[in-house]
């Protein structure tokens, strides 16, 4: 029987979130806290000729004004290439140039407006193609001159290449020459924004004895501690990072960004508490966004509709600073083909500096972008072969016996069962062959399909941990370093723990806010890895707890430890279950009727470190970067007006191999939420830059997100092929709903309009232009 796994329990923090009691970073008391505001660059690439802060300093209530001269340190998770405040040059419009600390926000804002800056513009590069063209302006004079934090980033001197990964197997060139059908397609996709509803924000305070307290809306409390400690040479133990509830992250709150500025601000005013808030406009233009992507894909198949070979190049537009983007280029290479069996492959994946806002991880770590390209190409090839695009995918689905692009041998446990996902989504979406059908004059309905897969790209030695303590009533408290930002990871962990302890999940309390001083280190709340990494730590902590309960039980019940069982909040002997001790009487040691003290207080602890992962071989790309894959299949159905180029999205279906359904409603809603983000991104979202590289109108009035009334009918199905090495077999799932949606939408619209649409976002205007400009 199941105690907790498979049950649709409510989120642990549900009532806090409907009463306004859930506290987010900027909800904490604001008395005796100074305010900081940023001045940002109005030039995409230029030399700072003059920066005059004297008028700002003269404003009553202004405590400090900082510029690049005040902070020589460089930052970044992979290479140290980013200053906290621009020094001498600005590399994107929106880059922080100066920071004002004042007694309150209006004063800080006033002072920001009094800072005088003059830029001498340099030529800006705004796409990977421009950045890689001969004679292109260099965003960084010496991209290979920066200190590397990790070994596997490969910047190239004299170019805008921040890193490059190559994956190769077989002989793609030769195999393509022998194919019966070959398609080639180029893509150029714009960057876009995360738009977590809570704007990024951070606070800092330094005590008289040098202890630093950072409170921040972050997915990486331990990353904040590490980067600040290394950059400012503060012992890590002197830095305490606190993360209350986070109002959405989607990868955008994984980088260390405002925390650095908040610390600098506090340092400049003798350690006083400083609160750094940025307006939505700066959250879009200045804080890291989603990558842009250019791609060139060549795919070949035989007459029997089997894909033989692929030649792929991805150029990720990482903007002005590398941040985590080199690893997204790596991730794109690792999963470059999509979940298909392709024997001959050659893939180059480049991370390219441009004068856009720097990019960072975004829900699914570049998979939402490159999957668009590969899945469009697969559709084109299916059409060439004359095969139903869904059948074509079944025919080519990766399965045991195949090898992944980086030559990992495929097993069901490792990769799951894509064929079953495709078969199930066929039913769920009422797939009808993927052809457009006129339902009335000018109105066509059509469906499009796309597959998804994703493995993770964490550091090969990333860690997690869990601590379990008991309350006097026998309920437990679970402490982890997992951030609650909406993905429900903590509720899943509570269910994993309740199942393992065979107890009511209602008796598991979860400590939601993270404090790096009290919670065991958890790498980052990213990559949908909570259930795998923290899940393992929870399982081990539970084992530790159970061993202690058995030891106490053996002493209290005076029988061998092997006979002791734990279930339903009781400790008992298997031989005599009627004689049991409830948790409340045994978890703080046991007091016998004779007032004898027996056993010890029970505390569970578990740690977990990733094992068996490798860096990619620099020549062939051979290697295993993540514990396993999640696969899935998605279908989008549209109704278009072929005269006006407008359309409605009727339904979106996903069948995902989640391994094990821990909580059906949480999983369903997380996958539907991912689909929703994919629909929004693919149908309307793009960061728009003018010719000078200035972001146009970065606000939610012109950057429209999907709102209620525009959403399709979402359908979610599960496949439960377990991953043997994961708690209860669960796979990563929380990001993945987004991955194939843009491609499925484009495939559906292409079928409906009878034209190949290889662009994003798919707005009526852009569709009209693409069709008008397409050579007949």
């Amino acid at each position: 029987m199941s105690y907790a796994i498979g049950k649709a329990i409510q989120r642990k923090e549900a009532w806090d979130k409907v009463t306004g009691k859930a506290k987010y970073t900027d909800d904490l008391p604001g008395l005796d806290v100074l305010s900081a505001r940023l001045l940002t660059s109005t030039c995409a690439h230029g030399v700072i000729r003059r920066l005059d802060i004297s008028k700002a300093l003269g404003v009553r209530g202004v405590k400090a004004v900082l510029t690049g001269a005040d902070c020589p340190e460089l930052f970044g998770p992979l290479v140290l290439d980013r200053p906290a405040l621009a020094r001498d040059v600005v590399r994107y419009a929106g880059e922080p140039v100066a920071l004002v600390v004042a007694q309150d926000e209006p004063t800080a804002e006033l002072a920001v407006r009094l800072i005088e800056v003059e830029y001498e513009p340099l030529p800006a590069v705004l796409t990977p193609s421009q950045a890689l063209a001969e004679g292109a302006a260099l965003v960084h004079r010496q991209p290979n001159g920066y200190k590397k934090v990790v070994p596997d980033v490969y910047p190239k001197a004299g170019t805008n290449i921040a890193s490059h990964y190559r994956v190769q197997k077989g002989d793609a060139q030769k195999a393509l020459a022998e194919c019966d059908f070959v398609v080639r397609q180029r893509f150029s996709l714009p960057p876009s924004y995360h738009i977590a509803m809570e704007v990024r924000t951070a606070r800092a305070e330094i005590s008289a004895d040098g202890n630093v307290v950072i409170t921040t809306s972050s997915q990486s409390p331990y990353g904040v501690r590490k980067q600040l400690s290394e950059a400012f040479l503060i012992p890590a133990g002197q830095i305490q990072v606190k993360v209350p509830f986070v109002g959405g992250g989607f990868g955008g709150k994984a980088p260390v960004f405002l925390e650095i500025l908040a610390l600098l601000a506090s340092r400049s005013v003798g350690g006083k508490a400083v609160r750094l808030t940025i307006p939505r406009e700066q959250d879009m233009a200045s804080a890291p966004s989603r990558i842009g992507l250019e791609a060139d894909i060549k795919l070949g198949a035989n007459r029997d509709g089997k894909i033989q070979a692929a030649e792929i190049t991805y150029w990720l537009d990482c903007g002005a600073y590398a941040d985590i983007s080199p690893y997204m280029a790596k991730a794109a290479a690792v999963d470059c083909t999509g979940p298909y069996h392709i024997e001959h492959l050659s893939c180059d994946s480049y991370c390219v500096y441009t004068n856009h806002t720097f990019a960072t991880s975004y829900r699914s770590f570049a998979h939402e972008s490159f999957t668009f390209c590969i899945e469009r190409a697969v559709d084109l090839l299916a059409k060439q072969c004359g095969v139903d695009p869904l059948e074509f995918r079944i025919r080519n689905a990766i399965r045991p016996g195949s090898f992944t692009p980086t030559q990992v041998a495929v097993t069901e446990s490792l990769v799951g069962n894509l064929t079953q996902c495709l078969q199930q989504v066929k039913e769920l979406s009422q797939w009808d062959g993927g052809k457009g059908v006129f339902i009335k004059e000018d109105t066509v309905r059509a469906k499009g399909v796309a597959c998804l897969w994703k493995t993770e790209n964490p550091p090969t030695d990333a860690v997690s941990g869990a601590l379990i303590t008991f309350n006097p009533d026998g309920s437990v408290n679970l402490h982890t370093g997992v951030v609650e930002m909406g993905s429900g990871g903590q509720t899943n962990l509570a269910q994993i723990l309740a199942e393992k302890l065979k107890m009511d999940p209602g008796q598991v309390h979860v400590v939601m806010p993270v404090d790096t001083r009290t919670a065991p280190e958890h790498w980052k709340t990213v990559a949908s890895m909570t259930e795998y990494m923290a899940g393992h730590a929870v399982m081990r902590a539970a084992d530790d707890l159970l061993a202690q309960l058995r030891r106490n039980g053996a002493e209290a019940l005076q029988c061998p430890m092997e006979e002791i069982e734990v279930a339903n909040g009781r400790v008992f002997s298997r031989k005599n279950p009627d004689r049991f001790i409830p948790f409340r009487d045994i978890v703080q040691g046991y007091r016998s009727p004779q007032r004898e003290s027996l056993g010890e207080p029970v505390l569970g602890r578990g740690g977990f470190m990733l094992k068996g992962l490798s860096l990619l071989d620099p020549q062939t790309g051979k290697g295993k970067t993540g514990p396993s894959w999640t696969v899935g299949a998605q279908v989008v159905e549209v109704e278009v007006n072929v005269k006006t180029f407008t359309y409605r999205i009727l339904s979106a279906s996903t069948v995902m191999n989640v391994g094990k359904v821990i909580n059906p409603e949480l999983m369903r809603s997380m996958i539907a939420g991912g689909m929703s983000m994919g629909v929004s991104m693919a149908s309307r979202e793009a960061a728009v830059y003018d010719e000078q590289g200035i972001v146009r109108a970065p606000n939610l009035r012109t950057y429209k997100l999907l709102h209620i009334g525009q959403e399709p009918d979402y359908r979610v199905g599960f496949v439960e092929t377990p991953e043997q090495d994961s708690p209860y077999g669960v796979r990563s799932y929380s990001e993945h709903g987004i991955i194939g949606i843009p491609a499925a939408l484009a495939n559906a619209l292409s079928a409906a309009f009878g034209r190949e649409l290889c662009l994003l976002p798919l707005t009526p205007e852009r569709i009209w232009k693409a069709i008008r400009e397409e050579p007949k």
């Binding site: 506290k23 930002m485 409603e665």
Partner: protein, 157 residues
């Protein structure tokens, strides 16, 4: 009248309580609720009237508290998420329908839904619900959960 430097005194009725506060003429109602009264349920998401995370009720109608000056709010009945009572049908419905993930937009959506219930005591047609809820953005859910919560709210009242 007491003169503060650049400030003026307003009397605000929030969640049934009367508060006397010194505010600048330019202070947003949202900021005054959060910073002076500690009612942080209303959230800043854009301070431009685009996202709805700061929605409260003014005399029973939803308003974006970032588009209202504190001085304009005098003489009106203000209701924030903290004033819903903690176990109102709309709150129960949101929990049961799993109508939130990160929870940041939730207070705003709760207030729009509660306002809808005030102005339309019986479940209106779907397009009316859509019209009302279009004012607010949610980046996490698929919106289907929120629609479901609206229906459940009407079943509970």
């Amino acid at each position: 009248m007491v003169r503060y430097e650049g400030k003026t005194v307003v009397n605000l009725e929030v969640n049934g309580e009367l508060h006397q506060l010194a505010v600048r003429p330019s202070d947003l109602l949202l900021d005054v609720l959060r910073e002076q009264l500690g009612l942080t349920g209303a959230k800043p998401g854009c301070k431009n009237g685009d996202c709805g995370a700061c929605t409260i009720l003014m005399d029973g109608w939803p308003v974006k508290s970032c588009l209202v000056l504190a001085v304009e709010a005098e003489g009106h009945r203000l209701l924030t998420v903290e004033g819903l009572g903690g176990n109102a049908p709309v709150q129960q419905a949101f929990v049961e329908a799993n109508a939130f993930q990160c929870g940041y937009c939730t207070p705003g959506f709760l207030m729009v839904c509660y306002g809808l219930l005030m102005q339309h005591p019986t479940l209106p047609e779907e397009y009316v619900v859509e019209e009302w809820l279009q004012s607010n953005l949610c980046r996490c859910t698929s919106y289907r959960e929120i629609r479901k919560a609206v229906k459940q709210m009407y079943q509970k009242k």
